[in-house]
């Protein structure tokens, strides 16, 4: 099954790296959307069919946590899993993120195998939703 994926990051190179890692990893990607901040991402998920979101935490305009909070207020959007991609390595922060509704966490730098693993895990868990 091909997944429509939204990549949210203010860095164009990070968006390109995630896209490349997804391609190499063998994840079946349908349509790929890009957003430079949480605000743009909310507009996309409101208007397009998105199965999975990769999002940075620290972004101008609207960060990833605020984006997840807004998505959780919408009955339909709250079912879309969000994987946070960040450089931060704090175990405490990761637990906080999960408590706030983030599905999983991918620490940079990551390998294509790691991105495949997290997609399989999250989409497997999400199948029952």
């Amino acid at each position: 099954m091909a997944y429509n994926i939204l990549i949210v990051d203010d860095s164009a190179i990070v968006r390109a790296v995630i896209k490349k890692a997804l391609t190499i990893s063998g994840v079946d990607v349908g349509e790929l959307f890009n957003a430079a901040d949480g605000q743009q991402a909310l507009e996309i998920v409101a208007n397009e069919w998105v199965d999975l979101v990769f999002a940075d935490i620290n972004m101008p305009v609207m960060g990833g946590i605020e984006m997840v909070r807004r998505m959780s207020e919408d009955g339909l959007l709250t079912t879309i899993p969000v994987i946070v991609v960040s450089t931060e390595g704090s175990a405490t922060r990761i637990e906080e993120l999960k408590a706030q509704g983030v599905s999983d966490y991918l620490r940079k730098p990551f390998t294509p195998e790691q991105i495949r693993e997290v997609v399989d895990k999250v989409m497997g868990e999400n199948h029952g939703k």
Binding site: A16, N58, M59, S90, A91, R93, K108
Partner: protein
């Protein structure tokens, strides 16, 4: 700066450049970097949490497109490497900062990181930055690079 801390910063710095950009770094004496006439770009970000501080990375302007090409695995002559050159440097700093904080402070503390910013730096300011106690000098694939890490408390 004590030797153990220098070793840790060196390891993080070299690992990130090697794993992300396939570029190989070596810690050198600061005198090895002086008297170069290159133009340099500075990337800077701050962190706030159990400790606050700042991390700065400077690289020669001409190194930025090379980092972008290596990170993406594309030809250095590809037009998009010039568009992504600044972003590539910011991302290198972002990852170095995240890895440094875990290496220095462990995985329990939570830090808020600012979005990295880049700017050109005048050669006199670059020389002044190099001389600071918190700066380390590296040669990465023949390019002179400064890593500056300051923890305020």
């Amino acid at each position: 700066m004590e030797n153990e801390r220098i070793q840790l910063l060196e390891n993080v710095f070299c690992d990130v450049f090697e794993n992300l950009a396939f570029m190989f770094g070596e810690l050198v004496d600061k005198s090895d970097l002086m008297h170069n006439n290159m133009k340099h770009t500075l990337a800077q970000m701050r962190f706030d949490g159990d400790r606050t501080g700042e991390v700065i990375l400077t690289v020669p302007d001409e190194m930025c497109p090379e980092i972008a090409a290596n990170v993406l695995g594309i030809d250095p002559d590809d037009d998009q490497v010039y568009d992504l050159a600044g972003d590539a440097l910011k991302e290198m700093l972002n990852i170095i900062c995240g890895q440094l904080l875990t290496a220095l402070e462990g995985s329990d503390p939570v830090f808020d990181l600012t979005v990295p910013k880049i700017q050109n730096i005048k050669i006199e300011d670059w020389n002044e930055l190099l001389k600071r106690d918190e700066s380390l000098a590296f040669i990465v694939d023949d390019y002179p690079v400064i890593l500056y890490v300051k923890m305020d408390k």
